[in-house]
Symmetry: C2
DNA sequence: GTCTATAGCTGGATAGAC
DNA sequence: GTCTATCCAGCTATAGAC
């Protein structure tokens, strides 16, 4: 039986390496989880895609859940670090730029791994999937990875927008997460509605549109919301 | 063995009815799918929650997938109809109100079923889950149910915002979907970041915040995006 | 129409040879 | 560390009594 060599990858210097079984498993499962979701992918599918044996997965990772967890922590840390790095370049005390803060938050999340040959984009999708799952496991993993940097950004936004009440800012942060995750998920909805004209998969395009949109939302004065008439009595 | 009567529901007139097995199955599965996702819930769990037999599910629905499909079509149509109804109340030719259009789109999606005793909120979550799944089946179901009304709203937005280019409008519509779905998913992320102060589950609160936020984003002049500097060369 | 029983698979995980 | 062979729990779906 021929072993799969489809997962070999070539580096910038032109040399070709055969990734370790462990690495091939992480790459293949990241891809598959992103595409089909956590529960929909069996480890048998994963080992077939990685060209390794069933037992190898358990040897290297112990369990399917542990595999997901290791993928996630490996990818999440660079994102959080890059966010903090970009944020630190912005002087918050002196005319902080809302747009720059938003870009520091969004760009690492959207672009991470886009310059590696295999599996890069997959993690972006995978993370978006996990973010909308109310399941406890995925939620805990996410919280551990991103709570700290998110807290710092909420703080930075408060400095950049001193006139916006904290509660309002938290709602808007939530809305930002929604637009970010939905863009990352690349669920294909807007492509089908616009015959492909609008494509969230084009990252630079997405960033160029999302930042002004969110900035305007963040800056809007809360008083304006009195124009909304409640059509049903709140319960 | 005692049959479960926990799913009985009482109507406004005070009478108590025992829903049919078919209805109990739909209610229970809607709830469970929303909470744990499509693949994570077995039909054994569903029938146990509904207090019926395993075979009853297949008798009434034929298959698990058909059950999901029936739940979805039953709930989606009222949402689309209510959207269109609210939209028709707005005179688009004469000073169309952006906020009213947004409310007509968002309110039915967020509140549908909130006035029934059981299972109402569940569908909101379920729909948000399906919306972020790239899986073909869920995508097709969603497209069939909502493509038409979404198209009408894109058109209405174009009328209300004649100075915004169509391509820009499509991006912003995509961003609106993201904030809407993430609010509907109620993934708990913002609650944990803010110690529960911000809660997307409070629908009227959510609407009061989301509409001004989105309206500001929709109205912002596209020229402003030149303030964003691309930090990496587009590929 | 409602139930019990079970067929027929596929899932994650492991034992033990090499 | 890598493989084959296998365990067995859990799944969807159906057959057939009542």
């Amino acid at each position: 039986m021929l072993k799969s060599s489809a997962l070999e990858t070539s580096l910038d210097d032109g040399s070709a390496i055969k990734p370790s079984a462990r690495q091939r498993l992480m790459d293949a499962s990241e891809q598959l989880f992103a595409e089909h979701g956590w529960n929909a992918v069996s480890i048998r599918t994963i080992v077939a895609a990685a060209g390794v044996n069933l037992a190898a997965l358990h040897y290297h990772f112990g369990s399917k859940e542990q595999l997901l967890s290791e993928i996630f922590t490996a990818r999440a840390k660079p994102i959080a670090l890059e966010r903090i790095r970009l944020l630190s370049e912005i002087d918050l005390d002196d005319a902080p730029s809302l747009e720059r803060i938003l870009e520091a938050f969004l760009r690492p999340a959207l672009t991470i791994g886009s310059d590696v040959r295999f599996g890069g984009r997959a993690f972006v999708k995978l993370r978006a999937r996990l973010a909308t799952e109310p399941e406890a496991v995925s939620r805990r993993i996410l919280a551990n990875a991103f709570d700290e940097s998110s807290g710092e950004f909420l703080h930075a936004l408060a400095r950049a927008l001193p006139e916006i009440p904290q509660a309002e800012l938290e709602w808007r942060f939530h809305f930002m997460l929604g637009t970010m995750f939905y863009t990352m998920a690349d669920a294909g909805r807007i492509q089908s509605l616009t015959n492909g004209r609008c494509d969230p998969g084009r990252v630079e395009d997405a960033l160029a549109h999302i930042i002004p949109f969110l900035a305007a939302g963040f800056r809007s004065k809360p008083e304006l919301k009195s124009t909304i008439r409640s059509r049903r009595r709140p319960k």
